[in-house]
Structures are given as structure tokens and as C-alpha cells.
């Protein structure tokens, strides 16, 4: 079986060959693994790599991917093909959008429809767990929509303010 798996921004191919009685072999890059694994309880895998101490592994599935915990380290492992499809459907390029960095509550909205903004102008202030973040205009332009109001929840990817870019020369 072939997997293309993404952790953070790092993508690697995994070649996985299951055998009888939970035995397996696998290769990622120049690293090879062989051993035996079983699932003693939900969310838990016990992995015995040949010639190494047993690894206790915990997992939890989400639509984004699989959370994996081993030896005090948590990793969100995603199917790289799927994540690519997801970003391209959304239009990609989150850095140019007015969206919060983490799930948050909107505490102030200064942007108004029709307002002309310069790059870096404050548009919305969100608060997450006692920390405040000011979301600014990613480029100069005119505000065409404000999709939120004070007290509403906002998630990363939600476009809170839409801006029609100004003519190129206004960027200086």
C-alpha cells in the first residue's frame, strides 16, 4: 500500500506491506520498519518493532487527518492528496485573506462596506482564550463585504472581511 502523508509542511511517501498475524514491513524515505502490531483497545495501538522497545501509540481520527501520539509526541498526520484537494477547492492562499489564526470570538469590527483601506489597516479584532489578535487588510482596496459582527465566533478559513484590490499603482 502506498501513502503520501503530510505532517506540518513535510510530505513523505510511505510504502506499507501488511503480513499475517499483525506483522508488517514499511519504508519511508531511507528508513525501514518491520515488526508486529495490534489494537488492544479503541484509540490504542501497540507496535513491536523488531529489535526495539515496544511503542505505545494512541490515535484519534478527524476529518482533517489522524492524530497520532507516541512517546509524548502528538502529530496530526494528513493524507497529502486529500489536503491538496481541500485547499484547491477553497481557492487556496490563506495569507491574503482576513481570517483568524485560531478559532476565536469577534470583539470589534472597524471595517465598513465601501471603506477604502490601506494594507495593514486594522479591520477586525478577535479574541481567543484571553489573547487578542488584530486582523489587518492584507492589501489595499475597497471593503466589499463584512461577514461578521461583534460576539460571533470565527474559525480559520472564515473570510470575515472581503476586499476588492485597488489598482496596482496604489501599492506604490
Amino acid at each position: 500500500m502506498q501513502y503520501k502523508l503530510k505532517i506540518g509542511e513535510s510530505i513523505a511517501n510511505l510504502e506499507f506491506t501488511p503480513a499475517e498475524k499483525g506483522r508488517f514491513s514499511a519504508r519511508v524515505g531511507d528508513e525501514t520498519f518491520a515488526g508486529q502490531a495490534h489494537a488492544p483497545q479503541p484509540h490504542r495501538l501497540q507496535v513491536q518493532l523488531d529489535g526495539a522497545p515496544a511503542l505505545d501509540v494512541y490515535t484519534a481520527s478527524t476529518p482533517e487527518g489522524l492524530w497520532v501520539w507516541t512517546q509524548g509526541r502528538a502529530r496530526l498526520v494528513r493524507d497529502a492528496e486529500q489536503t491538496k484537494r481541500r485547499t484547491s477547492r477553497r481557492g487556496g492562499g490563506g495569507a491574503k485573506e482576513v481570517t483568524p489564526p485560531t478559532p476565536a470570538t469577534v470583539v470589534a469590527v472597524t471595517a465598513e462596506v465601501g471603506q477604502r483601506v490601506a494594507k495593514g489597516d486594522a479591520l477586525v479584532v478577535v479574541s481567543a482564550m484571553k489573547m487578542e489578535f488584530t486582523l489587518t487588510a492584507p492589501y489595499a482596496g475597497e471593503v466589499t463585504a463584512v461577514n461578521t459582527k461583534v460576539g460571533e465566533k470565527a474559525n480559520p478559513g472564515d473570510i470575515l472581511v472581503e476586499i476588492a484590490p485597488a489598482e496596482e499603482q496604489s501599492d506604490g
Binding site: L5, P42, T59, S61, G72, A74
Partner: protein
């Protein structure tokens, strides 16, 4: 003793207080906001009162609603926990005015200690060493410049009403003073509604050392030794330990005496913490008094064997301290790691969300004061603390090894946590050597990245999960809805009626 108390807080600290109350035969009332209806503190309490909307101002900071909840449930005393209203003198006074007992110091003492310049004057009079600098706020540029010459550079501008690093500025040269003072005052004004500032000498590479004190209403004051809290990010502690590797018996005795003197100077009653900065020459200076139970109180409990919440309730009920300074043991070494929902790879950005799976660490010398569970949605409105993990062992190396083991056993999936980061911190050579000061993390861990060597094992686990886990996860719950439980089929049938 009280029959029933209300805990005006949420999360792990509310649960921790309820546990001791239950051991003492005291019934507990939780308060909660609408997002916290299924929070662990609500599930743990004997009864619970909803305060309203999630915004703190409408719930955990709403004094009238909390007092009404106490009256309605017949609670006789209120424990404020830490954060929210814990250091708000108006709340402490309102509780007393309602005929209830506030489990903490008197409102007047709290108010005095909350004003930093007033607290500095109080300590100076009481013979407690303070950081050289001003003892009253001033905004006149000429007088600030004059005071700055006397103190010497570098110096620190601080907000009189301050806390959490807001309104704070380091000034290295006279030319920077006026502009920095203006900025600091404006920041303090917007953060605290009070723009008063003052100047203090800037101490390079200090350690943060605090002393736990207990004072009863009969004039008895003792200290319960120190806690070193130098490991901080954004001026907030994340790892604490006791004893401090920097203190010998003579220095500990001197600082302990100063802490007791500080408590006496303030007329303090109940549990409190006197914070000091300690420089490399063994000189220490009063920083502030925290007029509440601290997040890190369990490490003191671990080395003294005392239950601080039990002591707080006893003191609030008017009982004298049952021991003197010399009766208080100090045994072994304890470390606390705060488990926050935040991302150490990304500037400690908050990481709210649903806890998909949680396994709590256990075993010898391990304590987890926890506020969450598998399936709990960590709300976006409040402090990101999930729990605090404490280990105790016979000495410091064993406590570090035990914490490393406990962090490795503490499984939290679904939100980001600094567990891997803290494991790296406590095993870093400088930490192991005890070479800790308040900018330790900025100096040693600013560019920290998770161990990429572990990534391929995680990728392997992904493939193993795909082949092995479907059967296990199906039995775990995905199919549970298909087979109706008795709770769904019982209808209006009542047990025992």
C-alpha cells in the same frame, strides 16, 4: 466548618477545590456559563447554577449573579479560585456585605496590595527589601528623568495597577525615557483604566522565587517554603519547582522571614504568595503579593504534605493554624508543568477545540489536576489551561525523570499542547543544571521545533491504524447509536417510584 461553599470559578481549579471540600464533608456549588454546561467542574459539584452567556463579564466576572447563586443555594462561603474575581476587592467586599464568608484575605488588604506603589511603600515600612526605584506613581517627564538619574540605567517602567507585563518597558538610555513612558502610560490606561506609572531598577537575568504563606485571623503567620517559577513565556509561568536549585538553607531562611514580614506588614489573612526577584549575587527584592491560591500551589502541597485548600477553609472558618513554623516539613522535590491548549511551534497561539482523546497519567508520585475529559470542547472564551501535571520524587533528578515519564503518559489529542516542548525544556542541560532565570525560554527555546525524527513513526502509525483500527473504533462508539440504550427506551419510567 461550613456546610456548603460556592466556587466562583471554572476548570481545573474549581474541580481541585471541590475535591478537598468533599473530603471535608463540605458540599459544593458550581457556577457556569452556557458553554460550560458540560464542563468538568459542573459535573463534579453537588449542585450547579448557570450564570448566563459565555462572555466573562456576563458570567464568571458578574458579581451580582454569583452572589445571587450563593444565596439561592444556601452556600455560606465563596472560594474565588485564581483569575476571574479572585483578586478583585469589590467582589471580596460584596461577598462579606451579603453576609457570606470570602475564602481569602480581607478586601482592604487585597486593595492595598493590588496597587503596586502602595504595596512597595508598605513593604519598605515593614523592612522588606524592595527593588530600588520610585514608591509613588508620577507622569511628569522632568520628575521621571530625575528619578531615573538616581536609579540608574537600564531601568523598568511599570504600571501601578499593572500585571501580566502590560504597561511595562525596559529603558536603556536617558534619550528613550520620555517616549517609552508615554507609551507605557497609554498601554496601562487601556489595559487597566489607569495610566499611572513608576520606575524601578532593571534586574538582569533574575530568578522568580516566591514564598507560600499562611496567616490565620489570630495573628499567626508561617511560610511553606519557596517555589521557583523562572520558566515563563509572555511573563506567564509554565514550569515551577520546589525547592529552588538557587537557595541554600541560609538564604531560604532569610527570604522566608522576609515573606512572613511582608504578610504581617500587610495585615494578611488566609493563603497568599509573596513574590521576589533574586539576582545572581543572592540579593532578593519584593515583587508583589498574590492574594489568592496560586496555580502552582500543588508543588508546595507535595513537599510539605499540607492541603492548602483545607487550610484556606479552616482559616476562613476562624480556626487558628494548628502548627508553628518549625513543625512544617520540607521533603523531596516537586515540579509542575502547566498543560495549556496552545501551540509552542507557533508562538503559543491558543488552540481551542474538542479533546478527541485523553488519557491521564498516573503512577507513583504523579498528580494531575485536570479540568477536561475526552469529548469536552475547550471553549474559546477563557484561559487556555487544561490541567496541571505535578510530580514529586525524593530529589530533583528523580522528579525530572518522573515528570518526563508522566508527560510521555499524558495523552491529549485534538488540541495542541506544549507537552513535547516541556519535555524538551526539563531535559535541557541548562535546566538540569538548575541554571534557570526568567528569560530562560526566550534564550534557549525561541526557535524550538518538534523532533522531526518522530514523524516517520507517526506516519507508520497512520498506516497501522488504517489496517488495524476499524474493528476497534467500531466497537468503541461509532455504531453505538444503532443499538438504543435503556436511557432511550425507558421513556418516562422512574427508578424507585
Amino acid at each position: 466548618m461550613f456546610d456548603k461553599i460556592l466556587i466562583a470559578n471554572r476548570g481545573e481549579i474549581a474541580v481541585r477545590i471541590m475535591r478537598t471540600a468533599r473530603e471535608m464533608g463540605v458540599r459544593t456549588v458550581a457556577v457556569y456559563s452556557t458553554v460550560d454546561a458540560l464542563a468538568l467542574h459542573v459535573l463534579t459539584a453537588d449542585e450547579a447554577v448557570c450564570l448566563g452567556d459565555p462572555e466573562p463579564a456576563q458570567s464568571y466576572l458578574h458579581i451580582e449573579k454569583i452572589i445571587a447563586a450563593a444565596r439561592q443555594t444556601g452556600a455560606q462561603a465563596v472560594h474565588p479560585g485564581y483569575g476571574f474575581l479572585a483578586e478583585n476587592p469589590a467582589f471580596a467586599q460584596a461577598v462579606v456585605d451579603a453576609g457570606l464568608v470570602f475564602i481569602g484575605p480581607p478586601a482592604s488588604v487585597m486593595a492595598q496590595l493590588g496597587d503596586k506603589t502602595q504595596a512597595r511603600r508598605l513593604m519598605q515600612t515593614g523592612g522588606v527589601p524592595i527593588i530600588p526605584g520610585m514608591t509613588s506613581a508620577d507622569d511628569d517627564p522632568a520628575r521621571l528623568a530625575e528619578a531615573a538619574e538616581e536609579i540608574g540605567y537600564p531601568l523598568l517602567i511599570k504600571a501601578a495597577a499593572g500585571g501580566g507585563g502590560k504597561g511595562m518597558r525596559v529603558v536603556h538610555a536617558p534619550g528613550e525615557l520620555a517616549a517609552a513612558a508615554k507609551q507605557a502610560a497609554s498601554e496601562a490606561k487601556s489595559a487597566f483604566g489607569d495610566g499611572s506609572i513608576y520606575l524601578e531598577k532593571y534586574l538582569a537575568k533574575p530568578r522568580h522565587i516566591e514564598f507560600q504563606i499562611l496567616a490565620d485571623a489570630h495573628g499567626n503567620v508561617v511560610h511553606l517554603y519557596e517555589r521557583e517559577c523562572s520558566i515563563q513565556r509572555r511573563h506567564q509561568k509554565i514550569i515551577e519547582e520546589t525547592p529552588s536549585p538557587a537557595l541554600n538553607d541560609a538564604l531560604r531562611a532569610r527570604m522566608g522571614e522576609a515573606a512572613v514580614a511582608a504578610a504581617k506588614a500587610a495585615g494578611y489573612v488566609n493563603a497568599g504568595t509573596v513574590e521576589f526577584l533574586l539576582n545572581g549575587d543572592g540579593e532578593f527584592y519584593f515583587l508583589e503579593v498574590n492574594t489568592r491560591l496560586q496555580v502552582e500551589h500543588p508543588i508546595t502541597e507535595a513537599i510539605t504534605g499540607l492541603d492548602l485548600v483545607r487550610r484556606q477553609l479552616n482559616i476562613a472558618a476562624g480556626e487558628p493554624l494548628p502548627f508553628a513554623q518549625d513543625d512544617i516539613p520540607q521533603r523531596g522535590h516537586a515540579i509542575e508543568c502547566r498543560i495549556y491548549a496552545e501551540d509552542p511551534e507557533n508562538n503559543f497561539l491558543p488552540s481551542p477545540g474538542k479533546i478527541l482523546f485523553h488519557r491521564e497519567p498516573t503512577g507513583p508520585g504523579v498528580r494531575l489536576d485536570n479540568g477536561v475529559y475526552t469529548g469536552f470542547e475547550v471553549p474559546v472564551q477563557y484561559d487556555p489551561i487544561l490541567g496541571k501535571l505535578v510530580t514529586w520524587a525524593e530529589d530533583r533528578p528523580a522528579a525530572i525523570a518522573r515528570m518526563t515519564r508522566a508527560l510521555s503518559e499524558c495523552v491529549i489529542l485534538g488540541v495542541k499542547t506544549p507537552i513535547e516542548y516541556m519535555r524538551a525544556v526539563i531535559n535541557a542541560p541548562a535546566f538540569v543544571a538548575g541554571d534557570t532565570y526568567t528569560d530562560f525560554l526566550a534564550e534557549h527555546f525561541a526557535a524550538w521545533q518538534p523532533d522531526a525524527d518522530a514523524d516517520n513513526a507517526a506516519r507508520l502509525a497512520y498506516a497501522l491504524h488504517e489496517t488495524l483500527a476499524p474493528a476497534a473504533s467500531a466497537s468503541a462508539g461509532e455504531t453505538r447509536r444503532e443499538a438504543p440504550s435503556p436511557w432511550q427506551t425507558l421513556g418516562h419510567w422512574h427508578l424507585g417510584k
